[in-house]
Structures are given as C-alpha cells and as structure tokens.
C-alpha cells in the first residue's frame, strides 16, 4: 500500500473531520461513549432552559454555557473524526485500486469462461495471464509469474509468485506482469485482503479493546459518581437556602466528569492503528495493537531480523609462509565467478589488500568451476594454476595433505566465534582460511539493551548449531537463543512462555510458522509470506521487514501510555475546577467564603463560564497529543511512571489554575457576562 504521507493536520482531513464532528452528534452514536453522552444531555438540558425561559440567571449566561457545552461535545467528536481522517483518506485511495475485472474461471469440464470477479467464490479456479489483474485473493497452484504488488505494498519492484512453497499467495487487485498462473481462490467477495485492509485503515471494524473497556467502566463510574454528587447538591442547596440553577449544576457536572479523556479515548485508539499503518503494518484489531504494548518476550528469527541474512567475508587468515596478499589474490580469483553474496564479499574484501578490481573478462583463458553439492567447493583453473575454495574437509580431500596446524586452529577458532570457515588451496597447498560471518544489523545491540530496561526479553531463533548461535547471540546482545530450531520449537517456546505468564510476539512468513503465529499474542506475518501465515497472525507487515516487530511493540506501548497520561491529566484537572466553581456557587449566599476563590475570578458567572470554556478547549488542545501519542521513552517502569506522573498528573493538577484564570480575564475583558 502506498502510504499517504499526509500530515495529521492536512487541510482536507481537518475540514472533513469538522463535518463528521457534527454528524456524530447523533445521540445513538454517542451512547458508546457515556461521558460525552452525558455532556450532550447536559447541553440539551441547558438549551431547553433557554427555550423555556426558565431559571433566574441572565439569558446571555445560559446561552454561552449551552454553547460551550455543545462545543465540548463537538470537540470530542472532532478528535475522533480527526483520528479517523488519515485512515479514511487512505481507504479512499485503496478503493480506487479495487477495479472491476473479469476473471477467467475454469469450469468443471476444464474450459475457461469469463465471469465478473465479484461472482468468484472460495475454491474457484482461475487463469490469470500477463497484463491481467488478479481477481481475488488466492493461491498459485500451477505455474509462476512476476506480479506487481505495488497496490498493496507500495513497492514498485515486481515479485515472483509460484506454485508450491512459501511464495504462492497472491492478492486480489495486484497485476500479473509476465507468464500465466492458475490460481485457486481463497476468499469470497468482500472478504479479501484488500477489503480487510480498507476496513482496517478506515477503522470501520474497530471494536473496543479490553483495556478500553476497563477504562470506559471506570470513566462511567466517575460519571455516575458526579451525577450523584450534582443531583444531591440540589437538596443540600435547598436546605442551606442556596438556590442552584440547572445551568450551573450542569456546568459543574460537565466540568467534573472526565470529558477530556472521555472525548479523546476513541481518538487515541484509532490513532494507534493509524500509526501502525504509517509504518506499513496492518493490525487486524485494536486488541492486537494493545497486546503489542504488553508483550514481554520477543521471538526473533536470526536470519533477516538480527543478521543481514548473508554471510560476509571478514578476514583472511594465511597459512605459515603464505603472505596475506597471496591468499587474498587466490581467494579473489577463485570467487570471481561466484555470484553468491559470500563470493562477492570475498572479492570486495580482497580489494582491501591492494588488489585492483578484476573481472572475468580480464581472464580469457580461465575455466571457472562452479560450486556443487557434491564437491562442496568452487574455484578456477587458470594458466595451469588450479585454485579452489570450499568447506575445510572438502579442501583437505582436494589437497590430499594435512592442513597446517595454524590454519587448523584458525578454522576451529572461526567456528567457535560463530563464523563459517572456508579454506583456499592451490596446487596441493593450503594457502589459508577465509572467515565468513553473519553480520549483525547495526544498532540492534542498543535496541535490545533498551528493551531489557523495559522488561522485554529477546529470544533469537536459528537453525545454526549451538556454538554459532551462542556467538551471534552474544554479539547481538539477545537474552536467550534457541539453536538448531525446528518450526515446532517455536510453538513450544511460545506455549512455555505464555504458561509462565508472558506475552509473546514473533514474526513469521512460512506456512510452518502459522501455528506459532496463531499462538503468539502478537504474530506479525510478512506480506511476502504464505496465505496461511497471513491468516494466522494478527498483524501483517507490508514491508516484510522482521525488525519492525520492535517498532510494533513501541507503538503499542505508546498507545497505552497516552491513554494513561490523559486519564491522569483529566482527573487531576477536577481539583482546579472545584476551586473555580464551588466558591462561585456559594458566594452569593455566603460572602464569607470568598477566600476559597483562590484564583481571584471576577464574578460567579465568569468563574463558571471560564471553567466550562477551559474544559472544552483542553480537549482541542490535547488532540495533537492524542493523535501523535506521548513521546515514547525506553525506560524502566519506575522512571517512566515518575516522568509521566510528573508531567501529566502534576501538570493536570496545576495547569487549569492559570488556564481558567486567563480565560476569566478574557471573558471579563470582552464583557461576555
């Protein structure tokens, strides 16, 4: 999927969100959000007060309070609409690729017939030829083809899809560039990957995550508490001879119920999924994003995730009496025709020994011997020289002589440190060893270090022998490794970690990864992987970059932190609002209570109005934070908590005091009440 690099606050998104905010005023829509629903009911009540001309306070005051209460609801709706904005725009783009095509379905008698793509069902067989669009998700069962998948991945380079193995899945909406394939359809119309993608980025299928449900319960309880507080205040006022008007009571209620977090809660969740989409990760549910934050064990495949995936030559270790240059020269000659990454890396390394770049064209008389599984070596015969490189035992057999002791030691040393040794020989003489090493991706060590600080354990999975695995594990800085791993080992490890109370994340692409992907709490399937893998996981990485698992975890944590931070902020805000409203409510009958007006607000009416305005504006002010998320820092729990508590807890306690005061000054300067 070509990710739209639009700003969160793109003009088109904002204006669309503004329209949606009004549409979302429908009470049925708001029922899912009790806090905002109560706010809307309050707004209705005060508005009814204006119409019915009840209440003793000046109409201007009631009108303004009502207006700001409506704004509070609108701002909350706007936040949600903003969070949906980028996803909706993205979904529109995706819909464009969902063009109507005609498929060549193979009838039971084997004759192809053209049918509209939307009439295809699971299990149908179709033929897709070069230049045609694949009509629906499926699996190649015959043939191979190059496919342009840019509609899904945003990557313009074509990929090969072929029958059998882990590269057989094709996606509806992608285009075959060459050859022709027979495809078995695996998705009914409207259930395809593209449809699901549209639904996901649009947030249409979004359900509340477990954590959101718990938080909603808490927020509803607070709302109920404050409803009781405000409703009982009326009789208490009657006892005390203090008349409280409906407007003021509603204003107090709305200021006390957690409108800030209530208004932003949905936006935070949607924005979390949106951030995943921006990283080209499709989360199948908000629950998956949330689980990513909870993950504390990462299972990482060595190849591709921790190492670059290709072994590289890193050193030449000459035999006694052989100059390093001589060894490098021989190694380079032997590798000139070797197009494997290992071979190329030997040529490159040799250049560091002062050897100029050579090409095959410079050596017309050379006969290159290709690597075969039988001989397990490759090389060149050139002007009577016969140079070979290969596995130590193969070379030993080739030279029919003992390998010099120093070279022998070098070979075992390389193996001990996780590398692969190759020997180079010429004319019955071993020239020395080449060290091939798995290169660990840059920056991983630091990253794993940060993970450890956050309490996340990393486990490397590799098919290597334990010795090699241990060496790479040490170099990469992972906490644990599974060597000589078989696919079922992954599943067993996941089960074991889960039984011990851990939440596990992993990546995978092959069909044999599917059970483990399904078992893991967060299973990120590579888009290049098989259909089975993609269905088993709860996320798909369109880039097929396994290292991204790390970012997935960070986004999950960021979402949870943002939710927590705004909850703390919202609740702490109430203290200041009390100091604004309670004295204002009582000072008319009990002038002696004036010292409680610590902010020195001008009049009771302006105090109440200012608190309500602050309460509405703070939602708008926090939308960017809700959408972008609190900046994530990889710290231990205590440090993270201290930091966030200081900023959002204490900040929430303090910020409204100056905020309300400033609004009060403006309200009075403009003579609004």
């Amino acid at each position: 999927m070509p990710v739209l690099k639009r700003s969160l606050f793109d003009k088109a998104i904002v204006s669309r969100a503004a329209r949606d905010a009004v549409r979302k005023l429908h009470p049925v829509h708001l029922l899912k959000n009790p806090v905002i629903f109560v706010t809307e009911m309050g707004a209705l009540l005060t508005t009814a007060g204006i119409v019915l001309r009840r209440g003793s306070e000046p109409a201007g005051f009631t009108v303004q309070i009502s207006l700001w209460l409506w704004f509070t609801v609108l701002f909350a709706n706007f936040a949600e609409a903003m969070a949906e904005g980028r996803g909706k725009a993205q979904a529109d783009e995706l819909r464009k690729t969902r063009i109507r095509t005609v498929a060549n379905r193979i009838r039971e008698d084997g004759v192809p017939e053209p049918v509209p793509a939307e009439r295809l069902r699971k299990g149908d067989l179709v033929i897709v030829s070069a230049g045609e669009t694949i009509p629906a998700d499926g699996e190649v069962i015959e043939g191979a083809a190059t496919v342009d998948e840019s509609a899904i991945t945003g990557e313009s380079a074509p990929v090969i899809r072929e029958a059998g193995g882990d590269r057989s899945a094709v996606t509806g909406g992608t285009r075959v560039l060459s050859d022709r394939v027979k495809v078995r359809i695996t998705a009914d119309p409207g259930q395809g990957f593209l449809d699901r993608m549209i639904g996901l980025v649009e947030g249409a299928e979004r359900q509340k995550t477990p954590n959101e449900i718990a938080l909603t319960i808490l927020l509803s309880a607070l709302t109920i508490i404050f409803l009781v507080v405000v409703m009982t205040l009326s009789p208490f006022g009657r006892y005390s001879g203090v008349p409280f008007t409906v407007t003021v009571l509603v204003a107090l209620l709305v200021c006390l119920i957690p409108t800030t977090i209530g208004g932003l809660l949905n936006a935070i969740g949607i924005a979390g999924i949106d951030r995943m989409v921006q990283k080209k990760v499709l989360a199948m549910s908000g629950r998956a994003v949330e689980a990513a934050g909870d993950v504390d064990v990462l299972l990482l495949d060595k190849t591709g995730t921790i190492t670059l995936g290709d072994r590289q030559a890193t050193a030449f270790l000459p035999a006694p009496g052989v100059a390093a240059e001589e060894l490098a020269d021989a190694a380079q000659l032997a590798s000139l025709a070797d197009e494997t990454p290992e071979g190329r890396s030997i040529v490159v390394l040799a250049k560091k020994y002062g050897l100029r770049g050579r090409s095959i064209a410079d050596l017309p008389g050379a006969a290159f011997i290709a690597f075969s599984a039988w001989t397990r070596m490759s090389g060149v015969d050139l002007e009577g020289r016969s140079i070979r490189k290969g596995a130590p035992d193969a070379i030993q057999a080739f030279v029919r002589a003992d390998v010099p002791l120093r070279v022998h030691d070098a070979v075992s040393d390389i193996a001990l440190h996780g590398g692969t040794p190759l020997l180079v020989a010429e004319a019955g003489r071993v020239l020395g060893a080449i060290e091939l090493k798995d290169i660990v991706k840059g920056g991983l060590r630091d990253r794993f270090e940060r993970f450890r600080a956050m309490g996340i354990k990393t486990v490397m999975i590799t098919g290597d022998n334990p010795l090699t695995a241990a060496a790479i594990a040490r170099e990469a800085g992972v906490d644990d490794f599974i060597a000589e791993a078989k696919p079922e080992d992954k599943l067993a490890r996941i089960r074991r970690e889960q039984a011990a109370g851990h939440l596990v994340a992993m990546t995978g692409d092959g069909t044999n990864d599917a059970p483990a992907l399904a078992q893991a709490d967060v299973g990120v399937a590579m888009n290049t992987g098989t259909q089975a893998a993609k269905e088993a996981g709860n996320m798909v990485d369109l880039d097929s970059n396994p290292t991204k698992l790390i970012e997935v975890v960070e986004i999950g944590k960021q979402m949870l932190i943002t939710r927590g931070a705004l909850t703390a902020f919202s609740i702490c805000n109430d203290v200041a609002k009390y100091f604004a409203i309670i004295p204002a409510m009582l000072v008319g009958v009990f002038p002696v209570i004036a010292p409680l007006n610590v902010m020195g607000l001008r009049s009771p009416a302006s105090a109440v109005l200012s608190a309500v305005i602050f309460n509405a504006l703070i939602i708008i002010a926090l939308i960017p934070l809700a959408l972008r998320g609190v900046r994530f820092r990889p710290l231990g729990a205590a440090a993270l908590l201290r930091r966030n508590l200081f900023i959002y807890g204490l900040g929430g306690l303090v910020a409204p005091f100056p905020g309300i005061k400033i609004i009060d000054l403006i309200v009075n300067a403009l003579h609004l009440v």
Binding site: P210, N211, I213, A214, L215, A221, I224, I225, F226, V228, V229, T232, L233, S234, P235, F236, G237, R238, Y239, S240, V242, L256, E290, G293, D294, D296, R452, M454, G455, I456, A500, G501, H502, G556, K557, L560, I561, G564, A565, T567, A568, I571, V575, Y578, I582, L586, V592, I593, P595, L596, F632, G636, A637, A638, L640, L641, N644, L645, Y648, G649
Partner: protein, 581 residues
C-alpha cells in the same frame, strides 16, 4: 499545640509501628488453617468441636461465591438473633433494672448496627439495655463482625497471593480461628488491663448515691438530689469494642465516661487497641504476597493520612473559637466544649482522628462540639472510605480496592496493561472495584440529601444552618462507613432515621463485601505475570504518593460540594462573620 501533645502523637505512632509486626505475625498464623499458635493446646479441641457443631470440613476451601454466601447467611442469622434478643430482653435474664423491650425500629437499627460492625447507637446503654442484651446480643457481634471483616480481608489477600486458584479459603475456619486465637485472648488481656485502670466489671444493680458536695448545680440553683451510678460488665465489652473497631459504648457517653475510660493511660491504650489489628493486617498483606515492602508501603500511606488528619484536627481544636475573645475568654486553652478535662485537647483530637480513621466510632469527646474544621476531620476520615487503617479487615480490603484503582489509573503510564502484584487489572476487576467505591457514596449522599429536605430528616436536628447539615451528613457517613460515631446533635431515634440509618449501614457493609469478594475470586483465578523492570512499583515513595493521592482525590472530589455547604461554610462564618451554630 503543646509539646505534650506532640510527644503523645509521636509515642502513639511509635508504639503502633513497633506492634505492627508482632500482630501481623499472629495474623499470619491465625489465618492459616494449619498455623500453629501457643494457644493450640487449650483451644484446639474447642476449635474442632466448633467445626463439628457447624458441620464444617475445615480442610475444604470455598470459592468466592460460597465464601460470601456463608458470610451473608451467618450475618443474617446474627442480625435476626440480636433483633430477637432486644425485642425480648424483658423476658431474658440479667436485667436488674427491669428494662422493657426495644421498639421494633430501634431494635432493627441496633441489630443492623452491631451486625455491620458499625455500633451506631440510637439508645443510651445504661437506660435501655439489660446486661444480657449487652453481653450476648451485642458483644457477640463485636466479636463475630470483627472476625468477619478480617475474614474478608484474608480472602482478598489470598486472592492476591494465589494464582490460578479457584478458592479463597474457608469462611467458617477463618471465623472460628480469628475469634479463638486472636480476638478472645487479646480482649481478655486488654480487659484485665482496663479493669486495673478502673473500668467497672460487675453485674450489680445501679448504685444510688446522695448528692456530693460538688454535685450542686452552680448556675440556676438546681440542686441534684441524688445521683445514679450505672454499673455493669463494662471492661470485657470495652476491650473488644476497641480491638474489633466496633465502638459501641457500654455507657452512652462511651469512652468519655469515667467507668469506660478512666485514665490517660487507659485512653492511650484504647487508641492503640483500635489501630492494632488494622495495622497488623498490612504486615499480613506484605507477608502473604511475599513483598514486605509493599505491606509497609500500605502502612506508611495510612500513617501519612492519619498524621495529617491528626495534626489538622489538633490544630483546629487547640486554636479554639476566636469568638471566645469577645466574651473576654482566652482562646489559647483551645476548644474545651464537649471534652473531658482528664484528656484535654490533644488526646481528644487524637482520639477523634483514630476512631474515625478506623471505623471504630468510640468517642472520648463530643465531635458535635468540635470547631468546624476540627469536626471536618472526623467527617472526612469516614468519607475517605474508612481506609486509614480502617475497620478490622474492612480497612485493608477497602485500601486494596483503592490500590487496584490507583494502579489502574496510573499503571497505563508505564506502557502496559496495569498489573498489581503480577495480577493484570482487567475490566471485571475495575467493575467490581468501582462498585465498592460507589456503594458508600450512594448511601451517604443519597440518604443525606433525602434527609436534608425531608420533614423526617429535619425533625431530628439539634442545630440549624450548616452545622445541622454537617450533623445529617455525619450521621449517614458514619452509618455507611460502618463507623458508628455521631455528631451527637442529631436525634436519630425516630422510626425514619432508625430505618434509613440501618439501611445505610447494611449497604455500607454487605453490598460492599460482595464486590470485594468478587475481586478476591477474580484475582485468585488470574495467572501471575512475572515481575520485571516494567512491573508497576508497589512500594517506595512514588507508590505511596499515588495511593494517598488516589484516596484523597476520590474522597475530596466526591464530598467536597457537600462539605462546602457544611463544615467549610461554617468555618468561614465563624472566622469571618462570627456566626455560630
């Protein structure tokens, strides 16, 4: 504020600190069905006999539903039993004063009051109840309601300590063991001590004396012809009333009566007795969840809340009423109205704080006569949910509910689903926790609001204005919080108040226990998340701050508007315009 008062406060906290661990260790043994105590030899046969009598298999544990059912049934039986005793006391023995039966509403109120560990008293003991009613009908509850509270706390702690477990203990075993091995022996020791201080313990009829020389009314010349000195088995009842945070006085004047609380030393020991088991339970918590620091963090949070309240109350009371100056009196002596001279301001303020922090409700001074701010402290203490040490058991389980909420509110900020001691806090846990918080709020605010505008509510008021409102709110706070102390200006012995207060008490106890037990069951069932660097820290200054903050903010946010119209306005009226109520 005097040095003496400061020393007493410091000594009090110091003694409490030193006694917390020993009492906690006792609790660890008593609440473990197989735990050994040095009373096993004499009491083990009794324990076995009781199980056989109750038809209980002590080895069989109950799940939370069954545990709760047992507790509710047992409490209902106790309620009915006491109701019957009070209604029939004229037919029962040990009634030398020949008191008649209690009215149905008062009997209901009193039975509910003692079953719920509240001990709200709409009667005066010495003029209403026979020795039998006191000793059997009421003291029975002083023991078993305290034990039931401890049982619930133990079940909740077991829920935290266990994982993937269906059961949370056996109610009958907890009930029997707490009574036999903890409450009975401790009460015995304490009553002997109190008797040594001069608390009466006999079954004699009341003593009539001729008026003494000093007993002549000085003002209007109303000579007191004769004085009746009530007698009775007070010492045995006073001990458990403190240890079990019951608070129901043998005499109407409660711990202000010289026969219940004769000396400064008995006063000091009684205050300690109130906090003893609630403090020990925090240690029990730490031990059982294998995080002693956590137990002490909870203790420290409670101690901080207590200390601030005690200081505020003491300061307000020693500042006294500024209006005294206009009468030509020196206010530096503090507010002595309604206080015993033998205790003075510091010991009265301290007692008031202790008895309302814990849901005890015994009083050694009249809270109604406190200055507005001084009286605000006991009221707020109750409204915080009786979690500052709190009632025996109920203090700890109330506090754990607050911890669960505090952890949920702030735990997200570490970037994980909040967890408390390795237990993930999920929707169900939040639901039952907020229910627990909602119940007393509904009861306090709902009943108070109805009373403040209803004719039945206003009829019982002794004072007008904001002070009257404080009296109403205090009564229902005390009832719903299962405290039992009173702003005595309110006459609660009317059918309407008797029933309303009884309902508030029953809500505050049993409607609250059900969600608490549900929480215990839910926590016990959960898998344990292994502790690591990302676990929520449940000890240390930050945790204490979060917990104290949550308790204060929830309490303050909920009750501030009502309090503003009561004690707060009253305070400003007194200092600002000199209006008194």
């Amino acid at each position: 504020m005097t040095v003496y008062g400061g020393l007493q406060l410091a000594l009090f906290l110091g003694c409490l600190f030193l006694l917390t661990k020993p009492v906690g260790l006792c609790l660890v043994r008593v609440l473990d069905p197989g735990g050994r105590t040095w009373l096993d030899r004499p009491l083990k046969p009794v324990e076995r006999l009781l199980y056989r009598f109750l038809g209980v298999d002590p080895a069989k544990e109950q799940d939370w539903r069954s545990y709760t059912r047992s507790l509710l049934l047992f409490s209902l039986a106790g309620l009915l039993f006491t109701y019957a005793v009070l209604r029939l006391q004229h037919l029962l023995p040990l009634n030398p004063q020949r008191f008649g039966p209690l009215a149905p509403d008062l009997a209901f109120n009193t039975a509910a009051s003692f079953t719920t560990n509240t001990n709200w008293q709409n009667y005066a003991g010495e003029t209403t109840l026979s020795y039998f009613s006191q000793m059997v009908g009421l003291v029975f509850h002083n023991f078993v309601s305290a034990a039931a509270g401890i049982a619930v706390a133990a079940a909740l702690v077991r829920g935290l300590a266990r994982h993937a477990s269906r059961t949370v203990g056996n109610f009958w075993v907890d009930l029997v063991r707490v009574n036999l091995y903890l409450l009975l022996p401790m009460s015995l020791v304490l009553s002997l001590f109190l008797a040594s201080q001069g608390v009466v313990q006999n079954f004699r009829p009341y003593v009539k004396t001729a008026a003494g020389a000093g007993a002549t009314g000085a003002g209007a010349g109303n000579a007191i012809a004769a004085q009746v000195l009530p007698q009775g088995p007070a010492a045995s009842q006073v001990a458990i009333k403190m240890l079990g945070t019951n608070g129901g006085g043998f005499f109407n004047a409660n711990a202000a009566h010289p026969y219940e609380n004769p000396t400064p030393l008995s006063n000091f020991v009684q205050m300690l007795a109130i906090f003893l088991i609630p403090a020990g339970l925090t240690y029990y918590l730490g031990r059982k969840v294998k995080d002693r620091k956590h137990g002490w963090a909870v203790w420290t949070s409670m101690a901080l809340l207590f200390l601030v309240a005690a200081l505020v109350c003491w300061k307000a009371e020693s500042a006294g009423n500024p209006r005294l100056r206009t009468l030509g009196l020196d206010p530096r002596g503090g507010s002595m109205e309604g206080k015993e001279v033998r205790f003075g301001v510091p010991a009265s303020a301290l007692f008031a704080t202790v008895t309302t922090d814990a849901s005890c409700g015994a009083v050694n001074a009249m809270h109604d006569s406190f200055t507005p701010l001084g009286g605000l402290v006991p009221l707020v203490n109750i409204e915080l949910g009786e979690v500052v040490f709190g009632g025996v058991g109920s203090g700890l389980y109330g506090m754990i509910v607050f911890i669960v909420l505090a952890v949920f509110l702030t735990g997200l900020m570490v970037g994980r689903t909040p967890e408390y001691l390795g237990k993930k806090i999920e929707a169900y846990d939040v639901k039952v926790s907020v229910l627990t918080i909602l119940v007393p709020i509904f009861a306090i605010l709902g009943f108070s609001a109805a009373a403040s505008v209803g004719r039945w509510g206003l009829a019982g008021l002794g004072n007008a204005g904001p002070h009257g409102l404080s009296e109403i709110i205090y009564a229902f706070s005390s009832a719903a919080g299962n405290n039992g102390s009173a702003f005595a200006g309110l006459d609660g012995n009317t059918p309407a108040y008797n029933v309303a207060l009884a309902l508030a008490m029953l809500c505050g106890r049993f409607v609250m226990i059900v969600p608490v037990m549900a929480l215990a069951g839910s926590l016990a069932r959960k898998k344990l998340v292994p502790a690591d660097e990302a676990s929520f820290p449940v000890s240390g200054a930050m945790f204490i701050g979060i917990l104290v903050g949550t308790v204060v903010i929830v309490g303050a946010l909920t009750f501030l508007p009502a309090l503003a119209l009561g004690p707060i306005v009253e305070h400003f009226l007194m200092t600002g315009s000199g209006v008194l109520f």
